[in-house]
């Protein structure tokens, strides 16, 4: 089955299809529901925040709003050397606060039928399981659906 076939499937079936913004982090494809994504930016000038949790890459200025940048490679436990400076930023909103998820690349928007979404395999690394809401088996790769709240919710050391 190819992506074209996927698209056909979504066109012809009566089941609802969800649109995902796809992105890759450390070679793995991820998707975020398109309605959650506010903006996609190229590499940004990011101010490091001393003493912040490891996953927090810093803050950036998005048209006058201060956006907290999350290093997705670190969030997923991947090596992140020299990553931040050339990363793409996917801006999402969580609890009325803007965040930008730093990823390697941002790809196309895919429309995938909801019923083809599969549960997250139990064997997945817990760091990944925590943020994954489901998986799509595309013909050439696996697409992991990221839960925005899951990614951001736990990054918060209590005072």
């Amino acid at each position: 089955m190819s992506i074209v076939a996927d698209n056909n499937l979504s066109d012809t079936t009566t089941g609802a299809a969800d649109d995902y913004v796809t992105m890759s982090v450390g070679g793995q494809a991820f998707g975020i529901p398109v309605l959650n994504v506010r903006d996609v930016l190229g590499p940004q000038n990011i101010t490091r925040v001393p003493l912040a949790p490891d996953e927090v890459a810093g803050s950036l200025n998005l048209r006058g709003r201060i956006v907290t940048a999350i290093n997705m490679r670190k969030r997923l436990g991947l090596p992140a050397d020299d990553f931040v400076a050339k990363a793409m930023a996917v801006v999402v909103e969580h609890d009325d606060e803007p965040f930008s998820l730093l990823v390697d690349e941002v790809g196309e928007v895919l429309s995938l039928p909801a019923q083809r979404r599969e549960a997250v395999p139990a064997t997945l690394d817990t760091r990944w399981r925590d943020v994954a809401q489901g998986i799509y088996r595309l013909d050439d790769r696996l697409l992991i659906v990221l839960g925005v709240a899951d990614v951001l919710g736990s990054i918060r050391a209590d005072a």
Binding site: P50, A52, V56, S59, N61, F99, I155, A159
Partner: protein
């Protein structure tokens, strides 16, 4: 009129009515307390009347009926036919609630829900019809009462005028142009009728007409108006005869006015000047305010922020290029931007009272429901804060007040039994405090027993008994904010305080605020909320450290010191613990790079640089310290934005901002940095190295460790040392038996340890102690280090004069010297002067010193004794209580705050609740006093607050408190 117009009208009506209802709520409650206030009553009446009128216009029969019935009751109250009683107010409030329900439904569905309000309206009518017949609605054939009453009373007349004015507008060609004045005219007419019919003082109806004429109304206009008024009264079922009589009033004194215009019709006039002053104000107020959608303001604010940033950027470029033709216009742009920014900020500011509007009603209802007597005091209602924040604290505040009324305040019977006044008090207060707003909700109810919280905490598994043992009462009380605390059992057994408090806390924290809870069993509870003025624009100093920039709020910066690397004069960096000699004091220093764990700039870069560092001298409370940074830039006006939730736990930052060049930087929090000074990583390392486990999170003390003569290292508390100098002792001179050194234009006596004459030669470090004009130099061989560590004297000084005892500092046994001994040696009067001033030859005063640290006991006791006090020492809080019981009265108690077991706060509270001891002033000792501590101390019952390491301050406070003993006692009690 299109459907869309109708929707807009409805929306506007809903918004207006909701606001009006809130006002009515609190005004009615106020009316109950001040039944005789005509202005208040008038205002209530007017609001209800407007609601009724608008509902009629929009075709909302249920709302109109209810509002009308309530208005009738109010009308009778206004006319003196009905007393303001709790029943009346309750019934009108019930009508208000019904209106609220209807309005809510209307807002949700766009139409009035079906249903009947007969029960309510008939109850209202019964009240309204007390002795006189009910108004307008059924005022048929029979005509009892005065013409005024037959015309429908105040409400009838108002309604008639309103209808007439509206109809008039539609008839007259230039109606649109007149529209803005119509409201005033309507009020003026209604007022005029009331004056004419009731013979009350005021502007007569005829004068209103005069004014109409003066303002250029034609006779035909006035005729039309008159006709409409007649029709309006008729439509309100006023009978024909009365209508004629009423219109007669309108034409009666026409001679004066009619002079100007055409002959035919009589009366003339025009609104403008006539309305009674008060009404005109109301009308003017309406003309000057405008309802604006919140989103518009939000957008405006965002754009202004952008504009400010762009402006900053332009100015920065301008500074870089000297003379430029863009200079003057940019300056102008600068000014305009600043003004624009201020104006936009103003549009967002609202008095906090807006969030309190519903509370009087809430408290009143609870009072009736629960059969309690509660007074709600609101202070600082005009304190302004940002709209967004106001919205976020509205619900938490309501919740806290409800809790206080519901669970905090006791019933009248319980209060009397406890010896309290039967009226409970809930106090709400708000004030600005250094860039924050502090809101307090306190009550004098039963408080929350800590013991019960403990039980609950353990039962719910939030902490173990042993964990609780190590906590202060204050810490335990904060458990009420924990999610697990709000269980059903807590509602009954712990007076329900825990219910939803976790939600309250999270709401407050969402906007970057802090909430604290304090309670004293039997005496009441208090919530303190501290919220930042986000979006506030503050002036900040921009500094750089390790290549990264930070903003430092200007108001905490005292001065800037530049230190050149070539002559690091004054900067003592011994073993990594830096201090700085600033004029006559030694300043503890902290390196920003170290606190923030920034990578050190490599040496090469440092040499290339300007070859200097800067010390930003900052003050937090009474604590002054220096922050080492690499570079200092301009001060800049910055827009404070809250810190992201993910990094809010970092105490070093208070906010984020965007600089002129568009980059994001963090705003430093001086409070957080100050804490870091006393808990720098270095200290922990030292403690671990010496392996001592006596640290129990208590005050750390900076000790200056030095070497002199033979024997081990010696130490002295750094804060007692004014300066570190180095001098060639060969320049010292003999003056009598003393060795003195010329120093800063005076003579400074020099002294060596063990009283050895300071007769060495060569260069030696000198520790300088300063007290007013007196100085003393202690000559030592070598300064080793400055070490910050909790201090416990292991061996008492015993027989060795000049030594307080020994302690293990940085792994070595170190003698801690008794500064007082040496100071006295140099000048026997050193500590005695103010004592004599204070109470001369009186018997010595009894002081109870409560201090768990042997070091401080040994430091303070001799000093107090020397100053003429009779000192009793208690080693901990429990001992202090015992001693007080046995020994009886002390003149004053000086207590440490942080002690194992009973803390100073607890001790103060216990003493203050003891009948015998409560009059005794208590002074708190602490290592650094920040404003929050002081406030907490004061509320626990402390009379004053002294920094532990400042013996002079302690002495002067002692004598001041004792000499004003009576007044102090009063305050404390």
């Amino acid at each position: 009129m299109g459907h869309a117009d109708m929707d807009d009208l409805l929306k506007e009506f809903l918004a207006e009515t909701r606001e009006a209802l809130d006002v009515l709520d609190s005004e009615l409650v106020e009316l109950e307390q001040r039944p005789g206030d005509p202005a208040l009553l008038g205002s209530i009446f007017r609001i209800m009347h407007t609601i009724k009128g608008t509902c009629g216009f929009l075709g909302l029969p249920r709302l109109e009926t209810v509002a009308h019935a309530a208005e009738d009751v109010l009308g009778r109250v206004r006319d003196g036919g009905l007393e303001v009683s709790p029943e009346v107010v309750s019934l009108v409030l019930a009508a208000l609630d019904r209106i609220k329900e209807l309005v809510a439904d209307l807002g949700a569905s766009g139409s009035e829900p079906a249903g009947s309000d007969d029960e309510l309206t008939s109850a209202l009518r019964v009240l309204a019809s007390g002795e006189a017949p009910p108004v307008a609605s059924e005022a048929p054939a029979v005509r009892p009462g005065t013409l005024y009453e037959r015309a429908g009373g105040a409400s009838g007349i108002d309604t008639a005028c309103e209808i007439a004015c509206a109809a008039f507008l539609e008839k007259v060609a230039q109606g649109d142009a007149l529209a803005p004045d119509m409201l005033r005219l309507q009020f003026a007419l209604a007022g005029g009728f009331a004056v004419a019919l009731q013979k009350t003082p005021g502007i007569d109806i005829a004068d209103v007409l005069t004014c109409l004429a003066d303002n250029g109304w034609t006779e035909s206009d006035i005729g039309t108006l008159r006709g409409e008024i007649g029709k309006a009264f008729a439509s309100l079922a006023v009978n024909a005869e009365d209508v004629t009589a009423l219109l007669g009033l309108l034409s009666r004194e026409e001679p004066k006015p009619a002079a100007a215009p055409a002959p035919a019709a009589p009366k003339a006039g025009r609104p403008e000047t006539a309305p009674p002053a008060e009404r005109r104000d109301a009308a003017a107020g309406q003309a000057e305010t405008l309802r604006v959608n919140i989103n518009v303001l939000e957008d405006l604010m965002t754009m202004v922020s952008e504009l400010v940033l762009t402006r900053n950027q332009l100015l920065q470029i301008l500074r870089g290029c000297g003379d430029s033709p863009f200079g003057p216009p940019l300056q102008r742009l600068n000014q305009v931007t600043t003004e624009l920014q201020e104006s936009v900020m103003m549009t967002r500011m609202q008095p906090i009272g807006n969030a309190w509007g519903k509370l009087p009603r809430l408290v009143r209802d609870l009072t009736q429901e629960l059969d309690k007597k509660i007074e709600l005091i609101m202070l600082g209602a005009d304190t302004e804060l940002d709209r967004q924040i106001l919205e976020s604290i509205r619900d938490p505040l309501t919740h806290m007040v409800r809790n206080s009324a519901d669970h905090g305040i006791e019933t009248v019977g319980e209060r009397l039994a406890a010896g309290k006044p039967e009226h409970g008090t809930i106090e709400l207060s708000a004030r600005h405090e250094g860039g924050h707003i502090v809101v307090q909700v306190s009550d004098n109810g039963r408080g929350l027993p800590t013991a019960r919280i403990r039980e609950k905490v353990v039962a719910n598994g939030l902490a173990t008994e042993s964990q609780l043992e190590t906590m202060t009462e204050q810490q335990i009380q904060q458990f009420i904010f924990r999610p697990g605390f709000s269980t059903a059992a807590a509602v009954t057994s712990v007076s329900g305080r825990g219910v939803g408090m976790d939600v309250v806390r999270s709401n407050i924290e969402k906007i970057g605020g802090i909430i604290e809870f304090q309670s004293t069993e039997g005496a009441g509870s208090r919530f303190v909320i501290k919220i930042p003025l986000t979006l506030a624009i503050v002036s900040a100093l921009i500094v750089e450290c390790a290549g990264e920039r930070f903003a430092m709020p200007q108001n905490s910066v005292i001065e800037l010191v530049r230190i050149s690397h070539t002559s690091e004069k004054g900067l003592e960096s011994i073993n990594g613990r830096p201090v700085y000699r600033l004029r006559d004091r030694l300043l503890p220093l902290v390196s920003l790079a170290e606190i923030l764990d920034l990578p050190r700039t490599d040496a090469a870069e440092e040499e290339d640089g300007p070859g200097s560092t800067y010390v930003v001298v900052s003050q937090v409370g009474a604590f002054v310290f220096g922050i080492i940074v690499d570079k200092v830039f301009d001060t800049e006006e910055i827009v404070v934005k809250p810190v992201s939730r993910t990094i809010r736990h970092i105490p070093s930052f208070s906010g984020t901002t965007i600089l002129g060049d568009g980059r994001v930087i963090m705003i430093l929090d001086p409070n957080g940095l100050a804490t870091a000074v006393s808990a720098a990583p270095h200290v922990e390392a030292t403690q671990q190295a010496d392996g001592s486990h006596q640290v129990r999170g208590r005050d750390a003390v900076s000790m200056l460790v030095f070497q002199t003569g033979d024997g081990g290292p010696k130490a002295v508390p750094l804060s007692l040392v004014a300066r570190l100098e180095e001098a060639d002792l060969s320049t010292a001179e003999q003056a009598g038996a003393r060795t003195v050194l010329q120093y800063r234009g005076g003579l400074m006596p020099l002294i060596g340890l063990d009283s050895q004459p300071a007769a060495r030669s060569g260069k030696h470090p000198i520790l300088v102690f300063v007290d007013g004009h007196r100085m003393l130099g202690l000559v030592v061989d070598r300064v080793i280090d400055i070490i910050e560590a909790p201090l416990d004297l292991q061996l008492a000084g015993g027989s060795r004069p000049g030594i307080l005892g020994s302690a293990i500092i940085a792994g070595a046994t170190t003698d801690v010297i008794d500064t007082v001994h040496y100071l006295r040696q140099s000048d026997p009067d050193w500590f005695s002067v103010e004592t004599e001033k204070a109470f001369g030859e009186e018997d010595s005063r009894n002081v109870l010193l409560v201090e768990d640290s042997a070091f401080f006991r040994n430091l303070l006791m001799p000093m107090l004794t020397l100053a003429g006090y009779h000192v009793t020492v208690a080693e901990h809080g429990e001992a202090a209580i015992e001693i007080c019981k046995d020994h009886g009265r002390f003149d004053i108690i000086v207590s440490d705050i942080e002690m194992p077991g009973l803390s100073g706060f607890d001790l103060a509270r216990m003493l203050k609740s003891d009948a015998q001891m409560k009059g005794v002033p208590i002074i708190a000792l602490s290592s650094h006093a920040n404003p929050k501590d002081i406030e907490r101390g004061m509320s626990a019952g402390f009379t004053d607050y002294v920094t532990k390491l400042d013996p002079k301050a302690l002495l002067s406070v002692l004598s001041r408190v004792l000499s004003s003993d009576e007044s102090a006692t009063e305050i404390a009690a």
